[in-house]
């Protein structure tokens, strides 16, 4: 009944047996133990569970875990390099781009995926990039400012 899922999370290979109905978010939170990825709805609407799968942002509550077989997943825990925060993480800190913080992991993953794909997005493209993520606290503009600052090169990548 359970099937084997082989994939990498933040560079670390995992081999886990899961029921086919298991969602990617459940594997990440409950089996791999990375609780940074959140869940905020049950309708693929809020984006709190966003992770990067083979470099692209997906909602991990809407992906069957087995569909991630053979892929590389990056979660919010994978953004910092050692004790060095990523440029987006630092920019979020400086710009107050989080309040309660529950949407923040998803926001960071959407923004990171956006910049991976398009390092010089316009303001509209930034807004589009995070439009799948709900933040009930900040009103988004502080997040857009943080991403913009990274785009402008105000935050250097950690070595």
């Amino acid at each position: 009944m359970k099937k084997e899922l082989k994939f990498k999370v933040n560079g670390q290979p995992y081999e886990i047996f899961v029921k086919p109905k298991t969602l990617l978010v459940e594997v990440l939170r409950d089996l791999v133990g990375l609780t940074g990825t959140k869940r905020g709805c049950s309708s693929s609407s809020c984006g709190a569970c966003t992770v990067m799968l083979d470099g692209m942002a997906v909602k991990s509550c809407s992906v069957l875990a087995l569909q991630a077989n053979g892929t590389e997943v990056v979660t919010v825990e994978g953004l910092a390099k050692g004790n060095e925060l990523s440029p987006l993480q630092r920019a979020f800190l400086d710009h107050g781009s989080y309040q309660c913080g529950f949407c923040t992991p998803g926001m960071l993953m959407s923004s990171t995926a956006l910049l991976t794909e398009n390092p010089r997005p316009t303001k509209l493209e930034i807004k589009e990039g995070i439009d799948g993520n709900i933040c009930r606290c900040t009103g988004y503009n502080a997040i857009v400012r943080a991403v913009t600052a990274v785009v402008k090169g105000e935050y250097k990548e950690a070595k």
Binding site: T35, K38, S42, D94, G96, C100, E128
Partner: protein
């Protein structure tokens, strides 16, 4: 005030790194050994008698550990208006009757969530549906079904506020307007749904981790409902994924988790689903508003009469406070010499309405600011001018109600006027609407009947000079821990990084009423400041003795330097002094205690913030669709402690209040909420968010810590009114009921066209 070394600086929130790395633990993330998962069975009927609940089939399901119903409780009723037993009316787990779709009737604990959910389908509840009533206007009729026994006409509570001679004043008015409005509901939509992990030990003590705005309230309400001593209950709020007014009453997740855990002496975790969050937690109060406003030709407003009927939903909750505050804030921010308010909160068979950011004031501000624009137009006066003419000023007494010390409303009006002028001539179908507002900095009322000070704090300085602050305040994301740490650091003369916060844990923190009514900066801040001052006094006394300074000199601490105020170069290191002072005190850490309870500050609040907002919209007259182009706010909140925090509050409030004006609603059919998912509940996302500009106004509030006052909720008051006024300016139609949807604008435009055609004929 530029000599502050911490206050007013742009800083990272002290829990920021936990939030951007995902390492911060929310209740949602808590897993304890031997923990079970709970689910709650809810009524599908808006009003019904419970004839029988048969849990046998559910109990037989493998993996189910316990099933509880109202019979497993003490049968008490909770309410946050504890001074008034008749207003404590919610059992949480219903025993005899359900009063709305979503009322809890049973709960299950099982080895995992799926099993618990499966078990819910195996609980057989026999109901006898009763006639139900959904609209407060129907519920106050003689023949309406009675929702709570003995409550006539379903009137839960009424409030009356009056000063001056309203009837006589109307006689003297040159112009009187009477208008009707309807304000809709709104869901809080916290990103973290209500959740709790409750753990009863065999020693009879209860520990609870929960997403909450007031650990103390939850602890006390648990004590009431479980007949326990407060001190045997420890409520801890870790990171909280948003509150907005929804998380300071005992909720079904908290209560059911505790009842289940009590049976099993095992930890039980309950996380409400998003659907439960929409249907079975509290929400913003819908209101019918009837306004009468009288003015002289020159725009001086002489009298206002307000009648409000609110949809209470099934229980009292904080709705009674919303009823009072909407009445009080209907007079804001103007100097009405004569004012009368009558409000009725009516029980209905719908989800309970209660506190939500702004707490009755977004409703009163929408209706009031719409009407004042209409009045201005009737009298041929500019909207900013009429507000200036009547707006509150510093040291104004709201007769018999409140005393307003600092008030920067007029500076805000000036700034907004400048902004509008700068914008110049607008493109076609654009309009800018103005809305003025004010709000309180924490409530004075004590219907909760706490014997404790409203706020309290303990500050401890350790041997390394690092500072621990213990306070019962709750950080739900608004950043209060950062603001309070800044206040402590400034007062004590250390750096922000020297301060560590312990908050919202009833096991170690002195009680505080929590994060609601925009109270924490002022009340919690005053308590922390006092505690820090006490520590500082001890260090200064010690330093004075040690340095042997002439007693004519004053000492102070700034940026870790204890020094003579007049000769700052003469001083000693703060760290050295701490070490020696502790040694000198027989090894006891330096401790300070602080507290705050407002005294002789009127009925409502010790201080009020003010502001004026201008919203610009662009309307497509062919479809009624409009876009929020820009929202500019001139805001004063006393001394700004944490500027990044205020910007966040302001922009976030525009998202939430813009949603209230533009798209958020909870339509119902026979008591059933029709959009209980984020897919169906429309809220503003990044692409819909307008540009936001902030014009900060300097004021100083004598009652607040370092001159600060609220900056959280008041900001949700103006936006719906500003949008309504902007739509009117753009295309000349006035919408009287929220939200101002494109369809309503479209229909109003068609109606206007029809009227114009008629007039031509």
């Amino acid at each position: 005030m530029s000599d502050y070394s911490v206050i007013g600086k742009r800083v990272h929130n002290i829990d920021g790194t936990e939030k951007v790395t995902g390492s911060g633990k929310y209740t949602f993330d808590v897993v304890l050994p031997n923990m079970l998962y709970g689910k709650i069975l809810r009524s599908p009927h808006p009003h019904a008698k419970i004839l029988k609940i048969d849990t046998r089939r559910a109990k037989r399901l493998v993996g189910v550990k316990a099933v509880v119903t109202g019979k497993d409780t003490l049968g008490r009723k909770q309410g946050i208006w504890r001074r008034f037993p008749e207003l404590c009316d919610e059992e949480i787990l219903c025993r005899a009757k359900v009063r709305y779709i979503g009322d809890a009737v049973a709960a299950v604990a099982a080895i995992d969530e799926d099993t618990a959910e499966e078990a819910l389908d195996l609980i057989d509840v026999e109901y006898e549906p009763l006639p139900a009533v959904f609209d407060p206007m129907d519920a106050i009729k003689e023949d309406a079904p009675q929702i709570h026994e003995g409550v006539e006409l379903n009137i839960n509570i009424n409030r009356h506020i009056e000063w001056g001679d309203v009837d006589e004043a109307f006689e003297k008015c040159d112009h009187i307007r009477e208008d009707k409005f309807k304000c809709s509901s709104q869901a809080h939509v916290c990103m973290e749904t209500h959740d709790a992990v409750a753990s009863f030990g065999h020693n009879g003590k209860l520990e609870v981790w929960t997403s909450s705005q007031s650990s103390y309230y939850i602890q006390r309400l648990y004590a009431d409902m479980l007949d326990m001593n407060e001190s045997d209950i420890r409520v801890t709020n870790r990171h909280t994924g948003g509150g907005f007014g929804s998380k300071f009453e005992l909720d079904s997740a908290q209560f059911c988790a505790a009842i289940l855990s009590q049976k099993l002496c095992q930890p039980v975790k309950i996380v409400l689903t998003r659907e439960e969050e929409f249907t079975a937690t509290k929400r913003r109060t819908p209101m019918y508003y009837f306004l009468k406003l009288g003015a002289k030709k020159d725009g001086t407003m002489l009298a206002k009469e307000v009648r409000v009927i609110t949809e209470g939903g099934a229980y009292t909750a904080m709705g009674a406070t919303a009823l009072y505050l909407t009445g009080f804030f209907s007079s804001f921010p103007y100097k009405y010499p004569n004012y009368r308010y009558d409000g009725y909160r009516v029980y209905t068979n719908t989800a309970t309405t209660s506190a939500m950011r702004g707490f009755g004031a977004p409703q009163s501000t929408f209706v009031g600011e719409s009407q004042i624009d209409m009045m201005a137009e009737d009298l041929g006066i500019d909207p900013v001018e009429i507000r200036r003419k009547n707006g509150m000023t510093p040291n104004y007494e709201v007769p018999g109600q409140a005393f307003i010390q600092s008030c920067g409303l007029h500076q805000c009006l000036d700034k907004i006027e400048e902004h509008i002028e700068k914008r110049g001539k607008l493109p076609p179908n654009h309009g800018i609407g103005v809305s003025a507002y004010g709000f309180m900095s924490g409530g004075i009322f004590n219907w909760f009947n706490t014997p404790y000070a409203f706020s309290a704090a303990v500050v401890r300085i350790n041997i390394d000079g690092k500072v621990d602050v213990y306070t019962g305040t709750c950080d739900m994301g608004q950043g209060s821990n950062t603001t309070l740490a800044m206040i402590c650091a400034e007062e004590l003369g250390v750096r922000l990084e020297d301060v560590r916060m312990f908050s919202g844990d009833t096991g170690i923190c002195p009680p505080d009423l929590g994060a609601w009514g925009s109270r924490q900066t002022l009340m919690g801040g005053n308590a922390v400041k006092m505690a820090a001052a006490e520590c500082k006094q001890q260090l200064i006394e010690f330093t004075a003795a040690k340095m042997g300074v002439n007693i004519v000199y004053d000492l102070d601490i700034k940026d870790r330097w204890v020094h003579l105020v007049d000769r700052p170069e003469r001083g000693v290191s703060y760290f050295d002094i701490v070490k020696e002072a502790i040694r000198g005190k027989d090894g006891v850490a330096i401790m300070g205690r602080g507290h705050y309870t407002p005294h002789r500050k009127g009925m409502i609040s010790p201080a009020y913030s003010f502001g004026v907002q201008a919203a610009e919209v662009e309307v497509d007259p062919e479809t009624g669709r409009y876009k929020l182009v820009n929202v500019t706010t001139a805001h004063e909140s006393g001394t700004v402690i944490n500027p990044v925090g205020i910007e966040g509050q302001l922009e976030g409030a525009i998202m939430m209040a813009g949603g209230y004006g533009f798209c958020e609603d909870q339509p119902m059919d026979e008591g059933k909420i029709l959009n209980p998912s984020i897919a169906d509940y429309k809220l503003i996302r990044s692409l819909d968010m307008p540009e936001t500009d902030i014009l900060e106004i300097d004021t100083y509030e004598p009652e607040g810590p370092f001159g600060a006052k609220e900056a959280g909720e008041g900001l949700t008051n103006p936006t719906a009114g500003a949008i309504g006024n902007a739509v009117y300016k753009a295309v000349g139609v006035r919408i009287y009921d929220l939200p101002i949807t494109p369809e309503k604008v479209f229909k109003a435009l068609k109606e206007k066209e029809k009227q114009q055609k008629k007039a031509k004929k």
